[in-house]
């Protein structure tokens, strides 16, 4: 359902070329829960953004929801992402003028839905991430971990087939973090969602089916989690 073939991503800084990713072959099957780990700066966020069609590679091919992105226009890629992907950004990207509840509802609004029809779902998501009593707070009236949880809830509101999460527990205490990881695990086991989590947290990786390790823009190792 997600795939990169020989993918590279370079950034030009004057005369210097930064190789953020080099020759990455990465595949995620439908309904899998995969974790991506690696040192700071190793290319994890870059890979996640390519997988979600938020950016294009310098070289190689990316397939999202089975569609090869190099063959599609930007508009087509945007539609595929909106239909299929929930993205949890490393720094959330919440709208500062909207409340927690409105930020969570935003993907539905963008999709042309009538938000009133989804009130029950939004209430349930707020409760799932422990923010029922913070629904009217704007981002600057929320703690760091509360903002992160708004971003997490938002990623699930369209019931997407694929959830891409960039360090979803980075600002959470271990108890709250485990609740979120449990939510991701259940989405996979009960609802068949495909989950890709970038994480520095070994405990988060332990919730996945397998772990891929990045270093200096390349895949260097794999680990299969034999859950027992």
């Amino acid at each position: 359902i997600l795939e990169t073939q020989r993918v590279s991503k370079q950034y030009q800084m004057g005369e210097v070329t930064v190789d953020a990713l080099a020759g990455v072959d990465f595949t995620v099957g439908e309904g899998e829960f995969v974790a991506i780990m690696g040192p700071s700066g190793s290319g994890k966020s870059t890979l996640l953004h390519l997988l979600g069609g938020l950016d294009g590679p310098s070289d190689g091919e990316v397939a999202l929801a089975g569609r090869q992105l190099s063959k599609l226009s930007d508009n087509q890629i945007t539609l595929i992402r909106r239909r299929n992907v929930g993205f949890i950004f490393q720094f959330f990207n919440l709208l500062p003028t909207l409340t927690a509840e409105e930020n969570i509802a935003l993907p539905l609004l963008i999709d042309g839905q009538n938000i009133k029809k989804h009130k029950e779902k939004i209430d349930r998501l707020l409760a799932l991430v422990g923010l029922a009593d913070r629904r009217d707070h704007k981002p600057d009236q929320l703690s760091g971990g509360q903002q992160q949880r708004v971003a997490i809830a938002r990623a699930f509101v369209t019931d997407p087939a694929i959830v891409l999460a960039d360090e979803p527990t980075g600002n959470l205490d271990s108890k709250t973090g485990e609740e979120i990881l449990g939510l991701l695990r259940r989405s996979c086991d009960e609802f068949g969602q495909t989950i890709v989590v970038v994480t520095h947290d070994a405990k988060a990786a332990s919730f996945a089916d397998r772990v891929t390790f990045l270093m200096d823009g390349r895949i260097v190792d794999h680990l299969k989690m034999t859950g027992d």
Copy 2:
């Protein structure tokens, strides 16, 4: 050197009052390394901002560098903070138009210093956080953990007596995180700096002399780290 007495912080949300902190007595001695832990939303960032004079309490007293802040004007508090405190924010607060190197140098500039005289110190800080080859990158050309490391380096550039760090390893892999924690520990042991770290990471807390636990805006427990 840092103290809160019976400190409370309330936010008014229409008819509802949010008690971010309630009756907090907290003291840090000169040259100590203290960690503050607690669930997401328990008041850790709020407490750190009050300790650094970035905000005022609703009730109670705050002393910074031995001075009682309620007796001082905003300008006086700002001067005391600039002279004595290096702050690492939970979400960094880097200037998007400046490079990593320029962001690190900013406190010196604000202090009216000639930055050229401090080139060696800035080079050393860049190397200490592993960003020598990223000095010309702006924040949007840096990974999340690289941005965090710029914020960390910036907090040390004025050799402040006090460093207040809000989740300084939240976006770092465990190896890089330990290097940063080692840097904080050495600042305390070798240079006598006073360090207060808010963290969700038990390993980070283990580098401290003692740990204070917050829950629902109150101090609920203490732990002395008997380092041996």
